[in-house]
Point group: C2
Chain length 65, copies 2
Amino acid sequence: MNSRVRELRQARGLSQEALARAVGVSRQTINAIETGRYDPSLRLAVHLARHFDSTVEEMFDVDAH
Amino acid sequence: MNSRVRELRQARGLSQEALARAVGVSRQTINAIETGRYDPSLRLAVHLARHFDSTVEEMFDVDAH
DNA sequence: CGGTGATGTCAAGCGGGCTTTACGTCAAGT
DNA sequence: ACTTGACGTAAAGCCCGCTTGACATCACCG
């Protein structure tokens, strides 16, 4: 699933680790989502969207691939 | 996780089975989500929100419980 | 050159999301 | 009384989301 996590994270100058701590998951989880290795849970997706003042629909492209 | 799936489904006069078919999952999955036994995946949550012309954030209360 | 931060990825393990199959209950209608 | 539809739930099994721990690479900087 494509997402704008990396784009938004970098736009704010955050490391994967800093974002991971901010949303309560491990650094590897953020990396896996950014590299498309797996999709976040609904809960994590909402937390990520909130963190970037966005919405789930705007941040995650459920239709890609 | 609380959701408005049951409320919206009933408002449209759909059975769990009809909704399940519409969003591409089993009837048991819809039932489990409505009864709070587990949370939908991000993909399914988006499909459900779309089906009801709503948004993920409006349909699912990630903070409940 | 040596150290540090950021990133990518792997492996093992746990629990959860979803499936199929299968029951049981209840309401409504004939 | 019987059937039918809708719902609730259980069990077994598969795959995925997430964890910790570990290792490698690369850029940058003293």
